[in-house]
């Protein structure tokens, strides 16, 4: 039982990271009906920014919660800017093009960022500075809870709650929801659609950056290709929860993290990556709209 609880905790911490990335996929899909395949790379840039900021500010050597928050804020700001730039350069000019065109530029941007990353950061893996020194904070029998896992889960939850507030309680959130339901109609009602879309990218990219920092904190190996697999997995999580649905992405991310951890813990880690895609296929076959997705209303 304790072992199961431990695996569950491992899975929740891991899934929280997927959930943060999945939110970016789902929000962009919500407003644009576009899968932003460069999103995994934004997450990579977030982790890299954290690495350089921590070293530049001398936060790499001493560990403190304040230092972590500074690094987190810096990475989120840089990635917000990057997300807005990607949208402006690669997607906005293709807004009225057939659906396939922005999908292809998305893959192009993803490859560009991967390779530019190798050029700028070097192909060697880097090791994220220990912004928090690992410490056991709670122990029940064999269940060990570390401050790192706690921080990861707490940060993910706070950010998700903040996002929920923005989407449900602010003017911007209402505009976002309006665009996601019907962009042309929202435009006729005076919603600045372009600005809302940029804002969506800003929000999603900032969350991906936070995921990058959390990964650096708990699994401190980062490299320019690190966004590839988590990006795909988060996409699976978004589809699992029902792409376009914000609570869906959160639940999908957590669920995927938990399933992966249980598979690795009780079956074999060799199936860890395969299982995500088995889930994707199963969802598409039996419930294409995902757990939280609804049938799209027939437009006449």
């Amino acid at each position: 039982m304790e072992q199961f609880l431990q695996q569950l905790l491992n899975g929740i911490a891991w899934g929280g990271i997927y959930a943060l990335i999945a939110l970016g996929y789902t929000m962009v899909y919500g407003v644009l009906r576009l899968i932003n395949f460069a999103h995994g790379e934004v997450y990579m840039v977030g982790a890299m920014t954290g690495y350089y900021v921590a070293h530049a500010l001398g936060l790499a050597r001493q560990s403190s919660l304040a230092g972590l928050l500074v690094v987190l804020a810096a990475a989120m700001a840089v990635c917000a800017l990057l997300g807005a730039t990607i949208e402006r350069v690669a997607y906005r000019p293709l807004r009225s093009a057939p659906r396939l065109a922005p999908l292809i530029t998305a893959i192009g941007v993803s490859l560009l960022l991967q390779n530019a990353g190798q050029l700028v950061f070097g192909a060697d893996p880097k090791f994220f500075p220990p912004l928090l020194q690992a410490r056991e904070v709670l122990r029940v029998g064999a269940l060990a809870v570390s401050n790192i896992q706690l921080t990861v889960v707490a940060t993910a939850l706070v950010l998700m709650a903040a996002l929920q507030l923005v989407v449900m309680r602010t003017r911007f959130g209402r505009a976002m929801r309006a665009v996601s339901v019907d962009a042309p109609a929202a435009a006729l009602m005076g919603v600045p659609v372009d600005r809302v879309i940029t804002g969506t990218f800003v929000l999603g990219s900032a969350l991906a950056a936070a995921a990058g920092i959390l990964v650096g904190l708990s699994n401190p190996k980062i490299d320019p290709l690190m966004g590839l697999l988590p990006g795909l997995k988060a996409f699976v999580a978004a589809v699992l929860g029902g792409i376009g649905s914000i609570p869906g992405a959160m639940v999908g991310g957590l669920l995927l993290g938990i399933v992966e951890t249980l598979v690795a813990g009780y079956l074999s880690s060799t199936y860890r990556d395969a299982i995500a895609f088995v889930i994707l296929i199963a969802i598409l076959l039996y419930r294409p709209t995902g757990l939280f997705g609804s049938e799209p209303a027939e437009k006449v």
Partner: protein, 395 residues
Amino acid sequence: MKAPSIGLRRLAALVLAGALAAALACGRGGESTSSGAAAGGGVGPIAVGHFASLTGDTATFGQSTDAGIRLAVEEINAAGGVLGRPIEVISEDDRSVTEEARTAAQKLIQRDEVVALLGEVASSRSMAAAPEAQRAGVPMISPASTNPKVTEVGDYVFRTCFIDPFQGAVMARFAFEDLGARKVAILSDFKQDYSVGLADFFRKKFRELGGTIVADERYTSGDIEFRAQLTTIRAAEPDAVFVPGYYTEVGLIAKQARELGLDVPLLGGDGWDSTKTLEIGGKAVEGYYFSNHYAADSDSPKVQDFVRRFEAKVGSKPDAMAALGYDAAGILADAIRRAGTTDGPALRDAIAATRDYDGVTGRITIDRERNARKDAVVLKIEDGRFRFFRSVPAS
């Protein structure tokens, strides 16, 4: 009007092709005379290829062997080279990617026409490239690939390190006898032949000694999350955990193991030998042990001399990969000298005939399976350093 113009174009093409062929023929001719002169003591450098992971997941391995090889070659050239010619090292980066190793070896053999290949550290990558060397009849010496299958590829493939059955047995005996462990868990990297092989030989020997393997978990190179496997291992309550992986993952595994309260010693092989293990693992790897080819803090004057010269040139302490690279280049130069030629078959025979070569990683004899016979050492991580713990003789 049209016909003549085509004719003209064709003529021009023919002339161009002819000129090209002539140029190529000249090039070939020029080369053959220069290599003819070499046999008689020419002055052109002898090209030796080194394919290595200069970047990527195991970059420190490639960079270390490269630095070791370059130091050896610099010293050999300063002493007058071999056969009256200097040696020139051409390095090719395979970015720590198995598939790239083959391409790198091909490039060195075909484009640079090297007389011999040095490389790789990782067994999977050596095995990817070895068939190329074998097919071209170019001798290849792996400085540090310990999987037995590497030299089984063909009779042109050698190594200057001991092999996994020996290394696995060393650590199994160490766990059973020195640590008194009876229940051990294994966490291996199923994507690396090196790690799988080491785990197999460890498992076999440890059972032979009377111990039990209580958990047998796996991960994949490049993974960053190991908590699931470590939680399963923790539940099996082992006395020690054997982690025969490479340093990038080992540091993360150690960290996550401590975080989960798994406070038994982790044991490993030479794949741990990188300062990165200390950098990533920090306090988490303290008190852990691994088998290795040499100890930089050994009191042998030969080793200390090498450490001093390496530090003067490179600015850091040589790890085992640097020492093995140094010895691989030394054995190659020695073989060229004894062969009196750089011809593939003669050079191959000379390498195969290496006996009691006095290297920095010990006395090396190439056996009939083209493996090096020599001693191993066990190192302990203490105060952020690798310390010599004990030496294990070649059986």
